[in-house]
Symmetry: C2
Subunit: 300 residues, 2 copies
């Protein structure tokens, strides 16, 4: 019987683990992947306070090391479901059955799909959700990025030093990304913005060869020849397996202390309904969730 | 006319400044003190993810440098009051009058007083609220720390390597501090715990000579000879000058996006009503407040 089991070893989960361990709780983090969280796939993160510009994987390694030094255990295992039996939380994983007094869901979110014809068919054949992972495959080729937020623009910048041309396709005529990123992208010669444009289809033979686009201003259709498409149009939470209160998009609803609709079950990070999804906010969520788990254990 | 003025250059204010600058907002941080925030007075912080154990002042310097590199301006000035005239926020400071589209209150909190006879009289003469600042004055002397939370125990540990004996005086028989800190304190030979004990009076001639104490278990009164008393019994927010919605203790009430009861005025960090006050949570608050300020400006 653990005091605290945390599902997910991203920034939120590892911070919860750091705090849980420091509270003296018998704490376990379960991570289904070989890599810790979405931040591991981020080329450079520039807004985690105190670090300046740092590679995503390097920041994750530092946070993991920090947590491990404080006594945290991390296991590779996939949680299939969570059953709550009064004060005991039972996790059925791929490898075993685990009991815990409290649980923190920190399963994060994955990139949203664009949901256009050809997207699924060409995933791994030119369509990608991770410029840092797949960018090097497109050296001196032409690629497109779809989206207008921080992720889209940051990854377009990453791609601009690898690819020949980087088209940024956005449905609006302004970006949501931080001005610091926008300015840099607008100054980069081989980044070309296609404003007010929507992707209707991804086409090609065996690999991506181009995109059918629609200009939303005049409704004209046109084709763009590219070998790669990088999709950054938001995230969807990894919360299907949890029978707790969520919003219409699957984000877990919490109190300010990270308590979910199930007593003793807390949520933290990108999987949670929150106004802003950043490394720093996920980390804070993790600390608060661990604090609340510790209080919950003391009270039952 | 600034886009964003942030009051206070602690972790919350500087993170808000980092984010505000990155959003491209014309951002100014005002700090009335020569030193940035309470964290500057913390000897070692062990739970800001990614840094392991780091001196408070070193972490603050890193965060300040990170924000300055992103274009943030910081001025030394004291905000006397804030007047809201429709969409314009007017700050009257010691030096001038400043106008801004949005304001983030990140004024932090100061240590609470113990409120016993002798405390005010002997402040600076043996009574202190900062072991890191004043600890060295008590080399090889006997001192007391009052409180049972993280700050009390962390600072008792700091004092244990300077002072002869460190008495920890606590009203209960268990500590609220993280187990990691508790274990270290309980293993430290010259830290002596006085459980279920309450300070009734601080006494001395010109400097502190001792404390009148009451044992809450048997109501017996007794005296303890010490040269110093370090008070860590919570915090009170620095929010007197702001005419916005607060709780009964003066903490500013916010929405999850850090919006206060006044549109365009946000709050972040220790001055805010929040379940947990940590460097990491204050930092997260700052990022969310800047994000919301940016949204607010776009909408008006």
């Amino acid at each position: 019987m653990y005091d605290l089991v945390i599902i997910g070893a991203g920034v939120a989960g590892l911070t919860a683990g750091l705090y849980g361990s420091r509270y003296g709780l018998d704490t376990l983090v379960l991570e289904k992947n070989q890599i810790n969280g979405q931040l591991s796939f981020v080329d450079t993160i520039e807004n985690f306070p105190g670090f300046g510009a740092i590679e995503g994987i390097e920041l994750m390694n530092k946070i993991e090391k920090h947590a491990l030094e404080n006594g945290l255990s991390i296991e590779r295992d996939n949680v299939k479901n969570l059953v709550v039996d009064a004060n005991i939380k039972i996790l059925h994983t791929e490898k075993r059955k685990i009991e815990s007094r409290t649980v923190i869901v920190a399963t994060g979110a994955n990139p949203s799909l664009l949901n256009v014809p050809g997207e699924k068919e060409f995933t791994g054949k030119g369509v990608s959700y991770c410029a840092t992972c797949d960018g090097p495959l497109f050296r001196n080729k032409d690629v497109a990025v779809v989206g207008g937020g921080n992720s889209a623009i940051a990854e377009a910048l990453v791609l601009s030093s690898i690819a020949n041309k980087v088209y940024v396709i956005h449905r609006r005529d302004t970006l949501k990304a931080e001005m610091a990123l926008q300015k840099r992208a607008l100054k980069t010669d081989n980044i070309i913005f296609l404003w007010n444009s929507e992707i209707k289809k991804v086409f090609g033979e065996k690999l991506v060869e181009g995109l059918h686009l629609k200009n939303l201003t005049n409704n004209e259709l046109f084709d763009l020849s590219v070998n790669g498409l990088f999709v950054y149009v938001g995230v969807r939470p990894n919360t299907e397996q949890f029978d707790i209160n969520k919003d219409e998009n699957g984000f877990i609803v919490t109190e300010t202390n990270m308590q979910t609709s199930v007593p003793g079950v807390f949520a933290a990070g990108d999987c949670r309904l929150t106004p802003l999804r950043q490394a720093i906010t996920a980390s804070s969520d993790g600390s608060i969730a661990a604090y609340s788990a510790n209080n919950y254990i003391k009270e039952i």
